[in-house]
Symmetry: C2
Subunit: 569 residues, 2 copies
Amino acid sequence: MKYFLRVNLTEKSIIKEDVPEKYQLYGGRLLTSSLINDEVDPLCDPIGPDNKLVLAAGLLGGVNIAGSGRLSAGAKSPLTGGIKESNAGGTFARRMSNHGLRAIILEGKSTEQNLVLEIRKDGITLNNYPDLKMKGVYDCTLILQKQYGTDWGICLIGPAGEMRLASACINNVDTKGIPSRVNGRGGLGSVMGSKGLKAIVVEPSPGTPSQAKKQKEIKEVIKEFTEIIQKHPMTPIYQRYGTILMTQHALRLGSMPCYNFRQGSMPNTEHLKAENLTKVIEDRGGEGTPTHGCIPGCIMKCSNIYPDKDGKSLVAPLEYENLIMLGPNIGITDVDQIAALNYIANDLGVDTIEIGAALGVAMDCGVLNFNDYEQARSAMEGIYQGTVLGRLLGQGAYMTGKILGATRIPVVKGQSMAAYDPRTFKGIGVTYATSPMGADHTAGHTLRFPVDHHQAEGQIEASLNAQKDINVYDSLGLCNFTLPQTIAKPEVLAALVSNYYDVDFDTSDLRNIGTEVIRTEYTFNRRAGFTNNDDCLPDFMLNEPLPPTNKVFDVNLAGMKNIYKDILK
Amino acid sequence: MKYFLRVNLTEKSIIKEDVPEKYQLYGGRLLTSSLINDEVDPLCDPIGPDNKLVLAAGLLGGVNIAGSGRLSAGAKSPLTGGIKESNAGGTFARRMSNHGLRAIILEGKSTEQNLVLEIRKDGITLNNYPDLKMKGVYDCTLILQKQYGTDWGICLIGPAGEMRLASACINNVDTKGIPSRVNGRGGLGSVMGSKGLKAIVVEPSPGTPSQAKKQKEIKEVIKEFTEIIQKHPMTPIYQRYGTILMTQHALRLGSMPCYNFRQGSMPNTEHLKAENLTKVIEDRGGEGTPTHGCIPGCIMKCSNIYPDKDGKSLVAPLEYENLIMLGPNIGITDVDQIAALNYIANDLGVDTIEIGAALGVAMDCGVLNFNDYEQARSAMEGIYQGTVLGRLLGQGAYMTGKILGATRIPVVKGQSMAAYDPRTFKGIGVTYATSPMGADHTAGHTLRFPVDHHQAEGQIEASLNAQKDINVYDSLGLCNFTLPQTIAKPEVLAALVSNYYDVDFDTSDLRNIGTEVIRTEYTFNRRAGFTNNDDCLPDFMLNEPLPPTNKVFDVNLAGMKNIYKDILK
């Protein structure tokens, strides 16, 4: 992983650069955010030629361990107007690493559309594929796989990205070749679309672990890391249930957004619990499976394939966030309907969280009805046709609410909250409010912290620690689902870096990543015009009690706005 | 004019205050902008309870001279997010003055809707009129006139204001009782609507010129002022043609926006010239008239009533801006169709300029067709029904373009340009770019300056002088159409103030108003987060040549951003 690939879409130039000295030990989120902060004008138009899209492998992207190989995508966000990093599983980052690529930096803006960047062992080219125009993600993947091979790494956008809608995501294929892994948040698909790029394909190439500088030593550490994962009591639970495990916690806390965040739970949702859903998947059988790996070599296999009654795949995966944001948040509890909406969102290439929130807001305004699957489906499908409602929803919850005159818009910095109501999951509320990412549960999830999630006390500290921790894993390219098991053994993570790069890298270097990411992203946002006033939840969360617990968000606002004081001083 | 009327809609309190010392010689725009800057949090939600709407008479509002009695409305704009002053003719400000009211300050936000503020000689009350809910401006005016009398001052909003759409305006009745005079720009109608206020009615009350402190002396100056107006060669031209005189200049310069600012002229537009349109009005007769006064006592009578073939009024007035923005800008040249669209806009209570620009953008994106009257009408009427397209257009050109993915949006600071393409009317382009008002021709019209409007040279100076000049007239409450005649005689304007208030007020005090308005408005906008980067035209105006002259906007950008350097230092 010694190279940057710099592709200028205006000039159609492709340059392979050695990773500069400054970035030698930068990977994943630290790398994307640093490159964006260093190279992008914070005041530029996010979908103009001056924005850049950086795709980076983590620092451990080339190491074949469980959960390693996440892809970080970074840019100025069309949704928030601030800096964004969004990361995803799949095979793309591992394939990049195997070519020695630490990052792909996409610059400029082509007048052509539907360009495909081909990365082969024997060369890198940029080609125009007019046939891909406005193709859905699933069809487009099949066409590309037919052209290149099912084992190629593929990262692509759907119609929403081509239309430059602010909720457009970037989709990546998993180990089964399904475009199931998504850089979902922040509208980065529209940045890719604005440059005229429809897809990037990467030829498989051997390389791991051969690129490690200290092969013998790293093998020992890999063994230790794997044992920690395997012996941890959470691992089999993650393996069996994946993210839908969160349903239990959300129901217990009354923190499951229902009807556009009007309630924290609703009747007839027992079947959404992980054990019940998993049983349905197993009973239906066929293509369905509750456990499915997304990154090559992952032993966690937290993903799933949700089948219909005849065993045919409805969508893969069905994650907790999608289940709730396209389910109870819009009044729907029928999982087959939710799965069908999820499939459409994936095919359009829109963030399921953002579009679910946008639908919820439109329903709250009376433009659509809650619990009306046909209406929701038709409204989303409007994006294919370019209907005004479809485009509006595709611009995200904030714009939808703003245009429709909503007073209850569950967003921070223009980005919708995920499937955790902050009034009863207060640590995540602090993350929503303060993170430079906008409302994003992945920027600092506080479930594992020893706090009462209903109470204000201790949440600022929990969120800050969660933010710093995840910054490290996002920068190493490690999955969130290895964090609870390995966070107490930072020396193992540091040893992986030391041996891979043959450098002195210790746990203080790891901690520095956690704070440096915050400093970098915060700095970009300030330069883009953000102020303390952007670090707050919407008013209704502070004033409107959430049934059934009737809690409001009551974490000290001044304390929240000072959350980074020790890091920034 | 010794009082402020402060009405808090949250508390339903009505307080009459003496004008504080600081504001003794503040009127119109200087007063509204100063009150907003002094009292409103620049970071507040424009349609939340913390914004205020100030309605102010000019410093000469109580003086019965031609063009005196304009109403300034000021608030934080929902359209631009910055400070806004929008002024209009009609009888309202004169009626206010006659009650001794310098300004009405509307604060807070009622949970009730359709409140009417009644200002009578014997008391001031706030009453709820549920029957007015979503009533169009014309119907609502008739209902209020039936209730109160045709000679009452009425200021009201239409459905768009109640829906808090960012292009909503405030309508005022003229001397004939027609709700024809509009505080159009900046969405101030939605600020009024957000407070729950549908209308303000003011009982006629004698008073002028009895309130002047030096009656005898002021009579002499009024005589002098009137003679200057009457003797000026432009006066009879304004009287005969009004604002549609501008068609000639726009056609000559190739500066008439056609097809969403794609062209500066188009075929078959000779009939839009003032002499031809005036002839049609006269030939059709009936209710139609080319000359019609809007403020009591005005001798300019620049307004008109445009009749249909049977002599029945189609709309009053048909102004140059509306004629072009709802005409050639959307590909329509049939004046009867344009007049019908203008009537609908007035009835909805939306700014004709903003909705015309929004329609143009939607047409440019292919959502509607150019030159399709039925589609345009139906899209606008969608606002009555709350259709998604209707609401989108009602949020203005910027939001419409943003949602529809437009790359050509003719706005500055979120507000649409008026019917002058800045590529061939460069001084107005400088005003669009730099004025704290956003793109607003009324903030500094450069027609009368001795510059070549096609060339870059001299435009910054022309715009700055135009801005300072109009700030004075807007603060005195004098109509723009008295400016060319009287601008060379500032001592007469100063003498009117001196004698009305019995103070020493000279031409340097007048000049101070010109700069103080800029300082105040600029300061508010900076506190609201605006930077130099907001003081620029959209990219396409800098790069896309405008047929038939094929000019681009080429005024020095750095110079523009420093336009206020001498004022701000």
